[in-house]
């Protein structure tokens, strides 16, 4: 077991094992740092930047830091909360997020983090840029309207060592795509795992939906910060 160290969140002493992921160490000490791309227990991706905090005076994505002895972390400062909120607002206007029509509503991390931040309207204009919905051999749907390009599917959905998903193109052209040969071999459980890994409603299994009524889903009954692993 690594040495236990003391670090500080907003001036309050906290303890963790040296090197622990800062987002997880904060949660263990009762402080919720919002994140979309972080998948508990896995290597950090650092793609969404929503976990932005100040570490020893510098802005940083918390998920990319390991805890060090004496580390000083600011989470609550209004300008940091506002920067994190602005990142969430950008995601809402970048592509097309129509929550009432989304099967992931009520179990979507993007939505739940926005609730946590009391977001009622983005400060940026909606873009309404068209995106496609792809049906891969009737086994998997990718709705590009909702993808936030976090890269979780790419990193955490595998068959053996092979990645099933990949990102093609860059910037505003970036799209997630799937390896059809690997997809053909995937079981229903593996597909369910892919749906689960996606923090939004971009990856869905065709023909399934609304098993749990809206209003009784996990983020309808619990706030995201209370569900400690951020997943169901």
């Amino acid at each position: 077991m690594a040495d236990e160290v003391t670090f500080f969140i907003d001036g309050r002493p906290c303890t963790a094992a040296a090197g622990d992921n800062l987002v997880e160490a904060a949660a263990d000490n009762g402080v919720y740092i919002p994140t979309l791309c972080h998948y508990k227990g896995h290597k950090p991706l650092g793609t969404c930047r929503v976990c932005m905090v100040r570490v020893d005076g510098r802005e940083a994505a918390a998920c990319t830091f390991g805890v060090r002895d004496g580390m000083r972390v600011d989470v609550d400062a209004p300008e940091l909360a506002d920067a994190r909120k602005a990142l969430i607002e950008l995601l809402f206007v970048e592509r097309n997020h129509f929550c009432p029509a989304c099967e992931k509503s009520g179990r979507c991390d993007l939505q739940a983090v926005a609730y946590h931040m009391h977001l009622t309207v983005p400060r940026f204009p909606y873009r309404y840029v068209p995106f496609t919905v792809e049906n891969f051999a009737g086994k998997l749907l990718i709705d590009h309207n909702r993808c936030i390009l976090c890269g979780r599917c790419e990193e955490f959905v595998r068959r053996g060592d092979s990645k099933v998903f990949a990102m093609k193109q860059r910037s505003s052209e970036a799209r997630i795509t799937v390896d059809l040969a690997l997809l053909a071999e995937m079981s229903a459980n593996e597909i369910a795992h892919a749906v689960h890994v996606c923090p939004v409603g971009a990856i869905l299994a065709p023909g399934q939906g609304f098993d749990t009524p809206i209003g009784r889903r996990k983020y309808d009954t619990h706030r995201i910060g209370e569900i400690t692993d951020g997943r169901d």
């Binding site: 809402f92 097309n96 129509f98 929550c99 009432p100 029509a101 989304c102 509503s105 009520g106 939505q111 926005a114 609730y115 946590h116 009391h118 977001l119 009622t120 309207v121 204009p125 909606y126 309404y128 840029v129 068209p130 995106f131 809206i214 309808d220 706030r223």
Partner: protein, 188 residues
Amino acid sequence: MDGTEAPHKKPILATVSLAGCFGCHMSLLDADERILDVLAAFELHRSPLTDIKRFAKRCDVGLIEGGCCNDENVHVLREFRENCDVLVAVGACAINGGLPALRNEIGLEACLTEAYLEMPTGAGAEGIIPADADIPKLLDRVYPCHEVVKIDYFLPGCPPPADAFWALLTALAAGRAPDLPTELIHYD
């Protein structure tokens, strides 16, 4: 202030449904018997609930359901802005266009062609795109209300639950800025 306070006047409420489905209004009515408290706290003026169609007096609060999909919506929304001190965009459609805004990605021409000329249900019929001068003209896309006029507060939800309306209206009746608790912020 000269010390002679004006007698306490009931705030006046106006409501409207633009490019919405009236679901938000139904949700407001879903307050059950608290609707009596709403009526005790507010005088209801221009609203589908009173069937008053023109502003005859200045209103304190205007609730806007739905975004703007045609020129009449824009006209009515501007009228609300001119006649209400505080405007609240109520529901997903007022805030981001909602389901009507799904057409924003398609384009107006393609949309009208699909609906009136190449509709799958009208096989054999001669299609015609309605263009009577009395019919409101569709806008190029559906606009959220705050892209057309200044909106003071936003009440998300599809529809916002009755409790959210209640929290909003009790705050406004008391002259407070509404600050919804997290449990009442929902987008679905």
